[in-house]
Symmetry: C3
Subunit: 353 residues, 3 copies
């Protein structure tokens, strides 16, 4: 029971107010609303789950400020952001998932010309670190990871299993690569000559700022020359493609399976939702939000929400969708007009009216 | 010629009836209809290939029941499902592709605290199996695979080259991971606080049922807490993204490059065709069929076919497409109406009429 | 300064004419127009950058023939194809990125029954080459790459970090695999029987022609039987999916995140832009161009540009898009017609007019 929390301890940790419940209520686990049992903490992070909240068996629920409903036997703690608050709970109850013990596993291959402090970094089994690479203190190189020649990694990075970083790329501090991510693959560049596509050497690099996270099997191409840039604090999901010479600002969110073509520029705090695509050589302004499956084919101003193919402001896209849904009635109205004007007018080719 | 089959042996193996041909016709190979030679078996599995069937040089063709056409010199065996029957032929003629010899390759790294029977499992070169992992008998861990701490694998699993399974995930029996698949990457979860995206620990796992297959470079995220669940018998193609806390039923088919966002639930026998996307927190009923490139943005009932963006029943989508194709004629009809009413009516802004 | 070039040397190398500038102008580096300094060469490869060209601080710029504008202090060299010409510059200035030293790293695992000449090939740390594989001279097998049994690789191939090639696949000469690419994963083939999806053995291979490049984390499935074929000179970008039994012609360009379903055939010089999808069992004629995010659901003739879902000739798609944009005005015109005919006609259900 070393992990047990009281309701009042929990409220203090998450900077919340106890709306209902005994101060010394003992909480020994955590779960989602529909899975929680009588000793678990849960949280209401999305109004979609309000129905589950009303029915939950959880001992206590972290709720948004102002919420007072739910079963009278369920303790409530009110906070500004229940999801963020619950992260504190998760960190408490989850057994530590990262037991960092520095050292180089004997099966890892670290080139003598690589720079790292084996008392402050961990290199896991089968990892390969090539000549000239520099690994910052506190960084953890996962099993079978490949770090190419002259790569620079900052402090406290986590590079997970089977990820690859090609030569000369530069990563900041606290960068996380999920398994299978590829940094610095060649940009897709060819010139057509003599009936063949001739490869254009891609001699630039990828540079990644501090606190960036890159998802599993995501690919980020190196620049033709110069650099592909991922700004500080940006978070990229799984299976995303970032083309060569893309410049991405700070604190962007790029959701799964998005593709960003070469030489496009994103401002700061841009959000691109799942499976959207951005053409090459366009600019997207800061704080723009591109909704899922949108196709961006030209530059877009910031501070707006976009949708559709080609991308347009969300309200235009919604109007167009509404017009589409009204088409059957429009057809009926035109047919009625034609009949009212008969016999002066008749569509000679009409087969659908 | 150890592999040669007679027509009557073949008919017996595939539970078929000889429609035409000599019982002792010798068959020594297999090929597609347009590539087969005079000693090969082929099959007619799709009516698209009926033209090739009429012209094939194959010695014998496995056909659907009722088929009696084709060259009189081509032997025919009639079965319920020619494609399934042909699988038997393939298994016979293909030289065994999986020669399973148990044992741990000396270059593999198996933590002393991992549990496996080296006389009943195979661990190929460069594979890494971390502390606490349990590997069921008959399982084959491919070259440079990484199996994280406390992972549990059932019996007779096949984990192919460079696949990664992160800590604590649980796989059933006979699970196949194609090369590069990633199981248990962190879910994409952040809270916005102080102008930055703060990572939410993802402490749950992925649980995969028996007889599941996961395609090459597909990524399945671990749950925030609790589990991401892939039901028994479900088959997932290459480059698919499955978000955190997704619950997928049994015997689903998820085709290449599909993305399923966090916390969505799929029933059993759901089919999602290529490049479709499913938003977060939605439910798709059992036996629903989502056609290729569909964008699912809200919950859908089972037992129906859907298409479009946003997804709607296929017949609605087809009507809408038909209306779209009729738009030019609708414009012409409206113009004709305007002319009939002239001079009482005129579109003052018209430049296209 | 061993790398310094004079303007006249550069003009000779790229087969260009000096439009402006001193023959002995010394050039010591290269950069993009907006990043170049007073000793750098740059190039104008895309008219989008004309504004940057007018403002560049570069010492010299490679321009298309006929261009004479820009600052009088900027030297100009005119060529047919500035981008191709600049590749020569890049190759000169970039420190050699590939220092090929033959030999097998002691941590690599090369099966005694594999065929390669260790004095002419390089096998990097952690790579695994299985029995029966043949590696052509000059080929470079990257760190932690896996080459399966009986794979054949031609001469001068580059297989980058963590790529996987499964058993029996055949690659030509000068094939490049970017990191994480998977060649020869099983095709997605099941038959439904007894309420379950039964795996159909995929016993064919992938065959890849000379001078093909395959992008990072791209997946190419082996044929059910026979072969999946990628023609000579074809270039495939990152995160592309190629299904089983696809036949792709020569010199195609397949851009990032495209999916090509099983058994489809592409002619030569086909271009498929980003995130497009091709259904199974269709044929696309030579020199067809499929624009980004297009959904190809039936066979298409060559020598045309296609767009939309379903794919149609680009001019049809553009007309349809134009009609869509005109819908609001069409509605207004129909409303005006109705009002002109009143009281003889009235839309009884109208709520939007």
């Amino acid at each position: 029971m070393a992990f047990a929390l009281t309701l009042s301890e929990l409220a203090r940790w998450v900077d919340g107010d106890i709306v209902r419940g005994e101060f010394d209520l003992s909480l020994t686990g955590m779960a989602a609303l529909d899975a929680a049992g009588p000793h678990d903490v849960s949280f209401l992070g999305n109004e979609k789950y309000y129905g589950q909240f009303l029915q939950t068996a959880a001992a206590a629920v972290i709720v948004p400020r102002g919420m007072t409903s739910g079963s009278p036997t369920t303790a409530l703690i009110a906070v500004d952001n229940p999801s963020l608050a619950f992260a504190v709970v998760v960190r408490h109850f989850a057994s530590a998932t990262r037991q960092f013990t520095p050292g180089i596993h004997p099966s890892a291959v670290v080139d003598p010309a690589a720079l790292l402090d084996p008392t402050k970094t961990r290199v896991q089994p089968g990892a390969v670190i090539m000549a000239g690479a520099k690994i910052g203190d506190g960084s953890d190189i996962g099993p079978n990871v490949v770090i190419g020649e002259d790569v620079t990694l900052g402090k406290d990075c986590q590079i997970m299993a089977n990820a690859s970083i090609r030569e000369r790329c530069v990563l900041g501090d606290r960068v996380i690569l999920q398994p299978g991510a590829v940094i610095g693959s060649d940009g897709y560049g060819y010139e057509f000559s003599g009936g063949r596509h001739v490869k254009i050497d891609q001699v630039g690099i990828v540079e990644i700022g501090d606190d960036v996270e890159i998802g599993a099997n995501t690919t980020i191409d190196r620049a033709r020359f110069g650099k592909t840039l991922i700004g500080e604090g940006t978070k990229i999901d799984n299976l995303v493609q970032v083309g060569h010479n893309v410049i991405m600002g700070k604190h962007c969110l790029i959701v799964s399976q998005v593709g960003i073509s070469g030489s496009s520029h994103l401002g700061d705090y841009v959000t691109i939702a799942g499976q959207a695509g951005v053409a090459g050589h366009v600019t997207i302004g800061s704080k723009a939000i591109i909704s899922g499956r949108t196709g961006v084919t030209s530059s877009l101003d910031g501070d707006q929400v976009y949708a559709g193919k080609p991308a347009q402001p969300m309200r235009e896209e919604m109007k167009q969708q509404a017009h589409l849904r009204r088409l059957p009635r429009l057809l009926a109205r035109v047919k009625a007009l034609e009949e009212a004007l008969q016999p002066s007018l008749k569509d000679p080719n009409s087969s659908d009216s």
